[in-house]
Symmetry: C2
Subunit: 288 residues, 2 copies
Amino acid sequence: MRIIESLEEMREAAAELAAGRRSSGLVPTMGALHEGHLSLMRRSAGENGVTVVSIFVNPAQFSPEEDYDSYPRTWEEDLAAAKSAGVDIVFHPGAEQMYPPRSQTSVMVHGLTRGLCGMSRGQGHFRGVTTVVAKLFNLVRPTRAYFGQKDAQQAVVIQRMVLDLNFPVEIIVCPIVREDDGLAMSSRNRNLPPQYRPRALALRRALELGRKLIREGETDPYLLANAMGQRILMDSEIELDYLEIVSPETLEAVEKLDDLALIAGAVKIGGVRLIDNILVGPDGPWED
Amino acid sequence: MRIIESLEEMREAAAELAAGRRSSGLVPTMGALHEGHLSLMRRSAGENGVTVVSIFVNPAQFSPEEDYDSYPRTWEEDLAAAKSAGVDIVFHPGAEQMYPPRSQTSVMVHGLTRGLCGMSRGQGHFRGVTTVVAKLFNLVRPTRAYFGQKDAQQAVVIQRMVLDLNFPVEIIVCPIVREDDGLAMSSRNRNLPPQYRPRALALRRALELGRKLIREGETDPYLLANAMGQRILMDSEIELDYLEIVSPETLEAVEKLDDLALIAGAVKIGGVRLIDNILVGPDGPWED
């Protein structure tokens, strides 16, 4: 497994791959790799000649009050995990290379970034994400790029960016990977104080409640959101950031649950922000 | 010479070029081709295996009150001119393909787009330019792309975008091509009412006056701009949009003319907006 730290070396490696007509898969990450990331890497390794994982904690997608400094960094473990998942290249650029002093260009997806995490984290969060992903696409020039459904809005936003800017990259969104008890895997889970770990399931339980109510025939998004929200707020130590029922394409609130919908939420528990979501319609699916 | 009108066909042609390891040059234009454009095409044809010219009057870079509808369109002449200049592919997409209904992504270079034409045309103009150029880069995947120095700010903005987003494209900026009397070639010159044609030289004459004063030792940008502005405003039928002396890299106003500076201006004559510029420092160059 090759480790590349300079943009120039990554660019040359990408050019060699293109010249050799080898397909490549990119898995963009911020490190602190878990089974969710590894599922993306294994999928890529099975579908492409070469798999590149980028590990870059991207300052542009954190607002000043967010957890950039405390975001988990586990470099040695990440390398071992990537190797075990069949990764060929780990691309690990420095922030000073990615954002040199006079850089001033950003990529922005406008409408889709207003709600959900865009409402709570600010549209600047997604501007940071799309800008860095555009940079990674240009540096790595992958055939395919892999993202997790856990960050459902991010996946929709990136697919929109790829369509709108005509990036020659196929976007593949992979299912959420969960702990045994159902908690969605997330690098931020590492930052949960142990006494809060059991409570971290509250959002998952609320989403499961929503799915159960839909299976029983409920189609009113307001009543559904209300029932799910109450389930979360039973625990006074949990802060509910948002819980919304939206179209999986437009991310706009649905007025009636008559088709597949994305139910997505974010909570804060013990100072850590966690997100989760399910896709469900009046005909299921009833499991994920 | 091949004419490509669909994005998909352009994408396939670009993939074939890449697979054949052939270098390609892109000359992005809005058509109404003149000798300025042709100089870019000839340069590209000399430096690349394949030259692609895009012809697309980009609605996103015109504000509602600007001349999108009256912008000259000369398709048949353009094809003949491109062929004569050694062009291999003319890429001519439709606006409905380039901006499908739900497209909502833009590329923005922030600081550099505030002054000069960004002040008068709005930063949205350059957002439209950088967005469409990013799209063209992704569709055509050129080795090199060619722009004219006439649109000096545009050239600086695009070079910044390429650096900031790590596009694997070499940007080549070519000298202004002028009519015999010195008027900078521009597609918009076609829209000049004949009686205004002689007056269209006012901006050029003012820039030459500025250079003469600098050669004589003047280094105060305020005095220089004042003298040049007065020269233009001698003709009460000419509207001076801006005339500024800025750093060629940062586009910020210079306080003293002690290094190479960009003197750039825009005027309105007979309803037509014209731009021109020179690069000059205390040691010249005294001609262009």
